[in-house]
């Protein structure tokens, strides 16, 4: 019998269950794109069929890191840039949890960039939402890894000399098996993409454009947007790596020309997740490791029986 009866609970789930009864009101600024992520995530969970107690939402630091303060589930608000290593260990310790990690563009593409590459490479079965507002919000408006070249701020007074990170291309190159971009101004598309991402068996990366009306007033509100999967203007196959790559390049460049392209850019459904790969070589137990510590009948191995002979 499982020690985790919240898992695989197949009752009907209401999106309101994800709204905390105590202090449900976020502290984000009026008009902030982060509201859009929260709304889309609450909308997606009932569709995925996950109850609050089988979801672990792991966040980093920044305005985005407050997501799990306003989303009622198991939550771990970690430190700047480190949501992914915490989240992926939880995902291998108990693969039956729905693990979602979230953070901002500084958190995920800057300080946590190395973790992003490696988590994507490992193709962990989890979803990673990056709130991309092209700015550092909580520290009051400094240039971020996704700020456009020439972006002026108090810490880059002559304008940034750096080209911005290409989030979608980076995810693809690193090995993510699902890559999408959506925008806070489009909650329905965002919800659908989140559902698809969570149902995907592997690392699903969503670059979520979240406008910052306080510190990035010059930036667009990410409208109007075009859906590259729906719009006839675009013709590419998101299961084809080369075509996906080309579409991503175009999307990344056009954002800085004022054109907002969104959609699912890449998906690789037949690739086994990290959990599956490790199970196949006997490096992740079939029953979640987390269960064993509640199993009173489990016979724990002793080093004296296992190893001493080789030292005699």
């Amino acid at each position: 019998m499982s020690a985790f009866s919240a898992i695989d609970d197949d009752r009907e789930i209401e999106r309101d269950e994800y709204t905390p009864g105590m202090e449900p009101q976020p502290t984000w600024c009026p008009g902030c794109g982060d509201f859009g992520v929260l709304k889309a995530l609450k909308g997606a969970m009932p569709e995925v069929g996950r109850t609050p107690e089988e979801v672990l939402l792991v966040t980093g630091i920044g305005c985005s890191g407050k997501l799990n303060s306003y989303f009622d589930s198991y939550g771990f608000h970690t430190i700047h840039g480190r949501s992914l290593p915490v989240a992926r260990a939880a995902a291998v310790t108990n693969p039956e949890l729905q693990v979602v990690a979230a953070g901002g563009d500084g958190d995920g593409y800057g300080i946590g960039g190395n973790h992003f590459m490696h988590t994507a490479r490992e193709n962990h079965d989890m979803t990673y939402i990056v709130f991309n507002n092209e700015i550092f919000g909580l520290t009051k408006g400094q240039t971020s890894p996704t700020s456009p070249k020439g972006h002026k701020s108090k810490t880059q007074p002559s304008g940034s000399a750096k080209d911005p990170i290409r989030p979608l291309s980076l995810a693809l190159t690193s090995g993510a098996s699902f890559v999408a971009r959506t925008a806070a101004v489009n909650p329905n598309q965002a919800r659908d993409i989140l559902v698809e991402a969570m149902e995907h068996d592997g690392f699903a990366h969503i670059d979520f454009l979240t406008q910052c009306p306080t510190w990035n007033k010059d930036a667009k509100q990410y409208v109007p947007y075009k859906d590259v999967n729906e719009d006839d203007e675009f013709d590419f196959d998101p299961t084809d790596r080369a075509e996906a790559q080309e579409m991503m390049q175009e999307t990344e460049e056009k954002l800085y020309d004022g054109e907002v392209l969104t959609g699912v850019y890449y998906r690789e459904d037949d690739r086994p997740s990290y959990q599956q790969e490790k199970q196949a070589i006997g490096e992740i137990p079939e029953e979640p490791l987390a269960e064993r510590y509640f199993d009173e009948d489990y016979e724990w191995e002793r080093s004296a029986d296992l190893f001493l002979d080789s030292h005699k």
Partner: protein, 630 residues
């Protein structure tokens, strides 16, 4: 200096199989009934470079490397660089012989491989041999090995020569070779072992040197083990089934042992992108319900500062290993030092609260690994095991019965779903994970996926429900609660204390040390008392929470004390003065930081010259720093 012991040094280059040959040799002597202790010296390079392993064997228990050694097998360095003497690194070809002569005792034995080493390249070799009454055996082991097997098997021929000279029964060595070697290489190796021995009997007078392997007998079954083995086995017996790491010498040993064994135990090992990730993974795994560990050496541990603080603030139990090596920065990767003590105690922002244990022996490495897990999970706090390349690289015999213990998979105050239902919750059903008023400061926890257990945990200061809070009253209550654990942990450690002074209780003088120097200090103390001095030692291997009472009692009972540690800034003495706030006028330091661990004789000399006679140390190997007051 006694010759009722054999201290055999096998020297060559990295990659020549020195380590495995010496390990088998030590095990054979252990099986023959002797107490053994190994000491390893090697460079940070893959192939070549001055490398040796000493195997000390005696009928009586041995706790340390010896003073120098009495038997050299110089095999030649098959990967030697630049053979010119004026080269920056000197003539490496001859180093297996030349570099090892200073430590060789009078009357000692030298076997060298004349196929690879030319004694004409060793300055004043003949004179030194004569002066020191060394017995020299020049044997072309290389050719012997080539003719009967492969060149790399010259180690085996050298062991055969050693056995014949020292009178060692080769049957134990042969048994070990049969266990370890595939058929194809077994036969030539067995042949070479005998050939080496025969060569000595035919060509030399076997009775010439006054060194023979002593005879001994063990009262119970022994195992040959290193500190790294023992730490790993302790972790496994505590139910640790998750490890994350990044390779770094010497931490890699524990990481390797665990990675090779966890899958067969249904456990998980993750080799990840860096040490920040490694420690963060241990936190994630522990949060999700597993008993988890990570670790590194100095530089990698520096990257763990940030997750270490998160573990303290989020009260996530984890165990970290810090395998010290000489620093700062990359320092000397393969050389032991105890210079990371302050790093381990204080790194990460804010008021640190953690458990720090420094095992002094192989047995204690096992005991402390178990204790580290027990305390981490009982008190929801990070535990750090700090040791060094000395303890990781040395193997010694330990009674097998020491490891005959029951496993303890307990995760501490982790609630079941039915227990969770009885716990306080907010109106909307959130579990109060961080309650203010709880015994020993430990608030019970739930695991994600449990019904009625959901909560938020954060590295920010937080209220009982886990939500971010900067309310002053809550802040003080939470800080006080987390710090309250330290007193409880200290009491827990005192209950079955592993701290035990060594030497006569009423001694006039004291020696304090910590961690891996324990055995060497204790051997020095025995020798000093035999020579008529009155001295006792205490190895303070529990560093946080610091055992104030025990150390105060020890220091109050002696006139003067010498603090022995392997670093240049007397970090352990500083910690002791900080914790006790007194005894500054009694605490003198004996320091060593040249990359080699203390020999017992250096501690004897330091004590006699500096403490008893008040004189100055003549050598440059160790440094004495007199007491400076509080």
């Amino acid at each position: 200096m006694t010759d009722d012991e054999l201290i055999w040094r096998i020297a060559g280059g990295s990659g020549d199989g020195i380590a495995s040959t010496s390990q088998n040799f030590a095990k054979a002597l252990m099986r023959a009934g002797l107490h053994v202790f190994t000491h390893r010296h090697y460079p940070s390079r893959i192939r070549g470079g001055h490398t040796y392993v000493e195997v000390r064997a005696s009928a009586d228990p041995v706790k340390s490397r010896g003073d120098g050694y009495n038997f050299l097998l110089a095999l030649g360095d098959s990967f030697a660089r630049n053979p010119q003497e004026e080269a920056y690194y000197g003539n490496e070809e001859v180093k297996p012989l030349s570099e090892n002569l200073d430590d060789l005792r009078e009357g000692g034995v030298i076997i060298y491989d004349s196929g690879l080493v030319d004694p004409d390249d060793v300055p004043n070799f003949e004179e030194r041999v004569e002066e020191n009454d060394w017995h020299v055996y020049d044997i072309d082991l290389r050719t012997m090995a080539r003719e009967h097997g492969r060149e790399v098997m010259r180690n085996t021929a050298g062991v055969g020569v050693t056995a014949a000279i020292a009178g060692i029964d080769t049957s134990y060595i042969k048994d070990l070779m049969r266990d370890a070697m595939p058929e194809k290489i077994l036969e030539p190796n067995l042949e070479l072992l005998d050939l080496g021995a025969e060569h000595v009997r035919e060509e030399y007078d076997a009775d010439a040197p006054d060194i023979a392997v002593p005879e001994g007998e063990h009262e119970e079954e022994q195992v040959l083990m290193s500190g790294s083995d023992a730490i790993s086995y302790g972790a496994i017996d505590e139910g640790c089934r998750f490890i994350a790491g990044y390779p770094m010498t010497p931490w890699t040993e524990v990481f390797t042992i665990m990675s090779q064994n966890l899958p067969q135990l249904g456990g998980i090992s993750e080799q990840v992108e860096d040490e920040i990730a490694a420690a963060a993974l241990a936190i994630g795994a522990s949060h999700a319900g597993a008993k988890a560990m990570s670790g590194s050496s100095g530089g990698g541990f520096a990257l763990m500062s940030e997750p270490l603080g998160l573990a303290e603030m989020s009260e996530t139990p984890i165990v970290l290993v810090e395998a010290m090596r000489a620093g700062p920065s990359t320092g000397m990767p393969t050389k032991p030092e105890q210079g990371d003590l302050e790093h381990v105690l204080y790194t990460s922002q804010g008021d640190s609260h953690r458990v720090v244990l420094a095992p002094g022996t192989v047995e204690e490495s096992y005991d402390h690994a178990r204790k580290a897990f027990e305390l981490a999970y009982e008190y929801q706090i990070p535990s750090i095991l700090v040791y060094d390349q000395k303890l990781s690289g040395e193997s010694t015999n330990v009674p097998a019965s020491h490891f005959d213990r029951e496993p303890n998979p307990s995760t501490g105050k982790t609630l079941t779903e039915s227990e969770l239902a009885e716990q306080p919750h907010t109106g909307d059903g959130k579990f109060h994970r961080f309650q203010h008023d709880v015994d020993d400061g430990v608030s019970p926890r739930s695991i994600p996926g449990q019904e009625n257990g959901r909560y938020l945990v954060t590295g920010n200061e937080h209220n009982p429900e886990g939500h971010i809070s900067e309310d002053p009253d809550n802040r003080v209550a939470q800080v006080d609660r987390r710090l309250e654990k330290e007193a409880a942990i200290r009491a827990d450690l005192d209950e079955d204390s592993l701290l035990a002074p060594h030497g006569p209780e009423e001694a006039d003088y004291g020696i304090l040390t910590f961690g891996s120097q324990q055995g060497t200090v204790e051997e020095a103390v025995d020798r000093l008392n035999d020579q008529g001095h009155s001295v006792k030692a205490l190895a303070v291997n529990e560093l946080a929470p610091y055992p104030v009472e025990q150390v105060t009692e020890f220091l109050a009972s002696v006139e003067d004390a010498m603090v022995v540690e392997m670093n240049a800034s007397a970090q352990f003495r500083g910690l002791t003065q900080k914790e006790l706030g007194r005894f500054g006028e009694k605490l003198h330091s004996l320091l060593k930081y040249n990359g080699n661990p203390f020999e017992p004789a250096e501690i004897v000399e330091g004590f006699e010259t500096s403490i008893v006679e008040g004189g100055e140390l003549p050598g440059h190997e160790t440094k004495f720093v007199p007491a400076a007051g509080d």
